[in-house]
């Protein structure tokens, strides 16, 4: 075994090209035994490519990979496993219909002398594996019945049982509740003490400062630098990630909100609300809160996607009680859902079809679409959003994340909806597209639309909005003026720890 400070894993001059895009350009990465090493960077920085190379899913074009000082080749997931590398993906690699124990023995099922599955041993070994990471999960339960956090624990238990020495965690807390995240942090601490080295990919600053020993930053596929957490402030890392100070990212002219456009009174749904709030013409309001606090649910209730239990909603004074999204759109709502691939877009359909879909009726006479007029209108929106016009017939799948999001936005710009609800509009898009999306949001406000944004990115939520609605447990617990608040205050209300500072908060707002 190597000494605690020697490199366990080292990448030197690794490059990877996809077509014309240089996804990784001569990058360097160094991981020591028993350290948690954060890997940070904007989308498109090359983190996923690095992870795929380590997982054996993608082969590098050049450069060296060293494990324990020995140069190695990782050509397949099997190679990766042989070198003790395990990846905990955002999308879990497990079979939900099978039990925890079956998942843990997947691919290496113990057999009886007769060659049949040795169920007792499967169960016993599963208990041992779970005990090793201190997880108290009944191995007989179907995996799919567990929460995402617990499923992740199972995945980690599997990795540890395969004697993984290098664990790559890709945004592991993205879908976890606060309690689950805390349990994961504790487990990470344990594994670190046991000498497991971890690459921790995360966008959450506070979490990175809490967990990591060192951080490496990539930008546009290139290595920017590595530093020790204790010597860095979050603003340093942000500057490394973005390449310039970010203060102006959210800049917008002062807005003068007009009359209320969206008026919500005691709206409630299953486990949500009642919530009451208003959004005025020319105003951007952000719903802030932790994952699971009910923000998306409120949006879906407004949009008629889920059933309302009670409440009074008005758009410009007219009641809106949509039975389905079709009716909500007619009432003046536009909604860009959080998961744009699963809910927002038709990935195999053209950009044109994706943008036009909600407005086609306007270009139709007796049900017959006047295709030329529809196309011209779509092209106008594409120009407005600086989408390249020859993307019109391309499947949306072929676009980058940022441009996909712009196409999703264009649909509602074309519809000219009075109230826009944007759920995590900048998730998974690069900084350039982010900037453009902020401009669109600002433009919508200046055009007198009411904009309701859901964002988990606190600086963004504060930066782009006029007011913040902080949600917790399905209710709005605090309304804040964006100009007079900061991340810390929002977080205090979002976590319900308004009187005490939680450990997760340290360093969140330097």
């Amino acid at each position: 075994m190597s000494s605690p400070t020697a490199s366990l894993l080292r990448l030197e001059g690794v490059s990877k090209r996809y077509g014309v895009t240089l996804a990784l350009n001569d990058v360097y990465f160094d991981l020591r035994a028993g350290e948690v090493h954060a890997l940070m960077g904007e989308n498109g920085a090359g983190k996923s490519t690095l992870m795929k190379i380590l997982a054996g899913n993608v082969e590098r074009d050049s450069g060296r990979i060293l494990v324990d000082g020995q140069e190695v080749e990782i050509r397949s997931p099997r190679d990766a496993r042989a070198h003790g590398i395990a990846i905990i993906h955002q999308e879990l690699n497990t079979v939900p219909a099978m039990t925890v124990a079956e998942n843990l023995s997947l691919g290496a099922e113990p057999r009886t002398k007769l060659g049949t599955l040795d169920r007792r041993r499967v169960l016993r070994e599963a208990r041992e594996k779970l005990a090793r990471i201190g997880a108290t999960i009944d191995p007989r339960r179907p995996l799919g019945s567990l929460s995402i956090g617990m499923q992740q624990m199972v995945e980690i238990a599997r990795a540890v049982s395969e004697n993984a020495r290098i664990l790559v965690l890709d945004e592991p807390t993205a879908a976890l509740s606060r309690a689950e995240a805390q349990a994961l942090y504790a487990l990470i601490g344990q594994m670190r003490a046991a000498g497991v080295a971890m690459v921790y990919i995360s966008h959450r600053m506070e979490e990175v400062w809490q967990l990591a020993d060192r951080v490496t930053v990539f930008r546009d596929g290139a290595y920017v630098g590595t530093g020790t957490m204790s010597e860095l402030a979050p603003s340093d890392v942000v500057r490394m990630m973005v390449g310039r100070p970010v203060a102006d990212l959210y800049h917008h002219e002062p807005r003068r909100p007009g009359a209320p456009v969206l008026d919500v009174e005691s709206l409630s749904g299953d486990g949500i609300g009642p919530v009451s709030f208003r959004v005025h013409a020319g105003e951007v309001v952000c719903m802030a809160g932790l994952i699971g606090s009910g923000r998306t649910e409120v949006a879906r209730l407004l949009f008629g996607a889920d059933r309302r239990l009670s409440g009074e909603v008005r758009i410009a004074g007219r009641p809106s009680h949509p039975a389905d999204p079709h009716a909500a759109i007619r009432d003046g709502f536009g909604f860009v859902p959080e998961d744009r691939k699963a809910q927002g877009l038709f990935l195999d359909h053209s950009v044109e079809a994706n943008i036009a879909i909600s407005t086609l009726r306007r270009f139709a006479t007796a049900g017959v679409v006047r295709a030329g007029r529809a196309r011209d209108a779509v092209l106008d929106q594409m120009r407005r959003l600086r989408l390249r016009l020859n993307a019109l017939p391309l499947p949306v799948r072929a676009l980058s994340g940022g441009n996909q999001q712009k196409a999703a936005l264009a649909r509602w710009l074309l519809r000219d909806s009075a109230v826009l609800i944007l759920d995590e509009p900048t998730r998974g898009v690069d900084i350039g597209a982010k900037r453009e999306i902020y401009e669109v949001i600002d433009g919508l406000a200046s055009a007198g639309k009411a904009v309701l944004v859901i964002s988990s990115d606190l600086p963004e939520a504060i930066g782009i909005s006029d007011r913040l609605l902080v949600m917790r447990g399905g209710r709005i617990v605090k309304e804040l003026r964006s100009a007079d608040t900061n991340e810390e205050e929002v977080m205090l209300h979002a976590t319900g720890a308004a009187l005490q500072t939680t450990p997760a908060m340290e360093g969140a707002n330097p």
Partner: protein, 340 residues
Amino acid sequence: MTVPETTKPGATAEVAAEPFDFAKWWDRVGILIVLVALVVLMAVIAPNFARVDNLLNIARSISVNAVLAAGLTFVILTGGIDLSVGSIVAVSGVVSVLSAMAGLPAPAAIAIGMAAGGLCGLINGVLIAYLGLAPFIVTLGTMTFLRGLSYTMTAGQPIVASDLSFRDLGNGYFLGLPIPVIVMLLVFVGAWFLLERTLYGRHVYAVGGNPEAARLAGVRVNRIVTSVYVLAGICAGLAGVILAARLISAQPTAGTGYELDAIAAVVLGGTSLAGGRGRIVGTLIGAVILGVLSTGLILMNVPFFTQLLVKGVVIILAVAIDSLKQRSFRFGRRTGAPKA
């Protein structure tokens, strides 16, 4: 994303020429090339093949399957499937013949047959769209049920109606063309118009492409899903009436297994069973290929058993090509646009 040089304001026809894309090209004309090659091959091997009367016979023989496949294309475009269309053929044939025998005028008997098909489709559609049942299971059930219904209505015996008022629908000619062929062409023109030119067609594609996204984009998904089964039912009803007219009788066994030939035509025509992708013209070509293939094989005196072997291979080949094409396309895009 920067503004590319190709962005000139005010122009709509500035969609730049893309590099040659084999997958896309094959998508458009591949199936047509297969058809032409097949026809040439048959004309060379079987000397009687290229005669006008033979070609018209082929056209007439495929009309029933093609009309079925036209309706089924809508269903498959939404990502559904309809196994009951073969049984609907029998039910509507029986209903139309019984109506005609009861003294109803020919147009009314035809309309009642089609309406019966539409009603069967409505049952499928409501069960699938509003109860959320799996299309495969629902239509497997109605397939069996409706077959039973057609046996029940006829007491298991064919009903021969030698003076059937609408017999010309199956056997007549108009302007030198067999009437069923004209009906088939009208059905395809109608289907093409619906899918390519109307709001409804766009919504069908949207539902097949991503039902949840369609719902959130304001498409009334349940209505669309219901309607495509109704359309498939009406088409099957029309096919059943044509078949009854051709046979001058109502056969409780009519249309047995037709659903599979119709599905084969749709898939051969390039429509994805996953939904959202495909074209009605492809379905027509797919039906013609299957028809040409069986007639050609008969002319070549290929034994019936061997004909089945050939047909099976052709269907699997067509789907394999489609799948390979899809994979290379998807893969190319994915690796071409890395995300970190």
